[in-house]
Amino acid sequence: MHVPDGFFNAAVSVSAGVVAAAGVAVCLRGAKRELDDRTAPMAGLVAAFVFAVQMLNFPVAAGTSGHLLGGALAAILVGPYTGVLCIAVVLLVQGLFFADGGLTALGVNITLMGLVTVLVGWAVFRVVTKVARGKSAVAVAAFLAALLSVPASALAFTLLFWVGGTAPIDIAAVAGAMGGVHLLIGIGEGLITATTVGAVLAVRPDLVYGYRGMAPALIVNGQPVAPAAAQPVKGGAGPFLLAGLGVTAILASVVSYFASSSPDGLESVAEEKGFIGQAGDHSLGAWGLAEYGEANGVPLWIVGLVGVGITLLVAGAIGYAVRRKKSAVEA
């Protein structure tokens, strides 16, 4: 979904450009702190990997297939800073060498597919791995991170389109449809991200950024000691976690606000069969948002925030359950 020219008015295009430039600048500094003079070759090779892996089509449902966005995957494998740089460079190259994505929309594209997916993906991943540690927890966290990063990106698109799009749309209707369809696509993204991270973990766990500091301790004279080389993920990427949670919360509260303010729009989407994808997808999206709208009397942005909280709690609970199960097996 590389946005071409003409979708957004000048104000949104320029603002998104500024946001993207600022985000990339922060990430250039962050990546350089982590990788030093290895930044250029490492990020370049990982960008080439992301570019290649985006071409892997995976079957979603009967007859349809999706392809990877890769933001959450990159964040988990090489860290959020380098992850954003990789996606930004992939988008730059696609726009300049392949005419994919408008030049005036480059800022929008980097913001939606680089910043939002990485921020949301990394935030979800960190929250889940805070609760549960170990390889299976990382896989679960990777699944949820990638799953949520896709509809988050789609909702951010909808939001931007509502603010500065060039067409009058019922934001609730479009948000419902976009969110629903992309949640479905997100399942594919989540599965392939989780299994890819799992495959790397099985062979070279030391390469997975999100797994740093989680490797089992060495045993010396019967006492566990921290491995000398281990650098737990902390500090540096902290702002990312906060920003990611912030983006997630804003998206959820804004969308739920509009979803509730015009619940009729949802039904109209359901009637327009074949808007994007299949009718079944719509009912999923419509259902999810209609539920938000039923919260009588409570300010709806609070409902949105609560929604984010519940999502994260569920994610945490799943992670916790995995950990319990794992320790039960080990005991």
Binding site: L45, V46, L96, F97, D170
Partner: protein, 252 residues
């Protein structure tokens, strides 16, 4: 949508358009796209003139029409989106061929289609007439951070190497009778993706060692002479400046 990048767009040539320095073309295309986006959608004739200007550029660069048309498939998902806008759009509705459509949204759909198409064609012409490496050097000349340019250079260099590795893995999978058909096959594909990541990462480390071995100390030593004469800037500027004039008239 991100798929289908197997072939790069660059077509080597020696036309005046090919010979222009990359930074001039880059800025020209960018400025052209901005002018197009800023043009009021009611000015049908202005968009017609823009299309004529692009056609003239394509002719000067000897880029055949069929080549441009084939590459425009990249736009299809957004054409579909544009088609649906009038159906879901708000506002006063009109009936076209028995369908009740939003009049305002019809304008919006036209707006997106026209501007996106012109933007895509301009980008295709840029990519078709400029070596990818030169585009990046031109972007650096236009103050894109050099670290970002370096990352893109490495991506450019190793894109094909990694795609070849991926292709070999697919052949290996398929020669053992595997074909991805449903969700259960995702783990198999993901194992390849995981292996591909490990290979890419390790290659990155080896490349870094190779760079160190030849005296790399954190910055790219090679400076390219990317200067452009006033005349070249003026030549490249013809496209956006004419477009600007057209837009100016459309605003009168």
């Amino acid at each position: 949508m991100g798929a289908g990048h197997r072939h790069q767009l660059y077509r080597p040539g020696t036309t005046p358009v090919h010979r222009l320095p990359a930074q001039c073309k880059l800025l020209a295309v960018f400025a052209f796209a901005i002018v197009v986006v800023a043009t009021p959608r009611e000015a049908f004739w202005a968009f017609g003139l823009y299309a004529v200007m692009l056609a003239a550029t394509a002719a000067a660069a000897r880029v055949p029409f069929s080549f441009v048309a084939r590459r425009m498939v990249i736009e299809i998902p957004f054409v579909l989106f544009a088609v649906f806008i009038p159906i879901i759009g708000l506002g006063e509705r009109v009936t076209v061929l028995g369908l009740s459509l939003s009049a305002e949204a019809l304008w919006a759909a036209w707006n997106i289609l026209a501007k996106a198409t012109l933007g895509v064609i301009a980008s295709i012409l840029l990519a078709a007439t400029t070596e990818p490496r030169m585009i990046l050097l031109g972007a650096q000349r236009l103050r894109l951070p050099s670290l970002l340019v370096q990352i893109a250079m490495f991506m450019l260099r190793y894109m094909d190497v990694i795609m070849d590795e991926m292709r070999r893995m697919r052949v290996a999978r398929e020669s053992r009778g595997f074909e991805a058909r449903n969700l259960r096959h995702i783990p198999v594909i993901a194992r390849s993706a995981g292996a591909l990541f490990i290979r890419s990462y390790e290659r990155g480390e080896r490349v870094h060692l190779a760079m160190l071995s030849r005296g790399y100390s954190g910055s790219m030593p090679i400076v390219h002479d990317m200067s452009a004469s006033a005349r070249q800037w003026l030549t490249a500027g013809a496209l956006p400046l004419t477009a600007l004039a057209v837009m100016g008239m459309s605003l009168l």
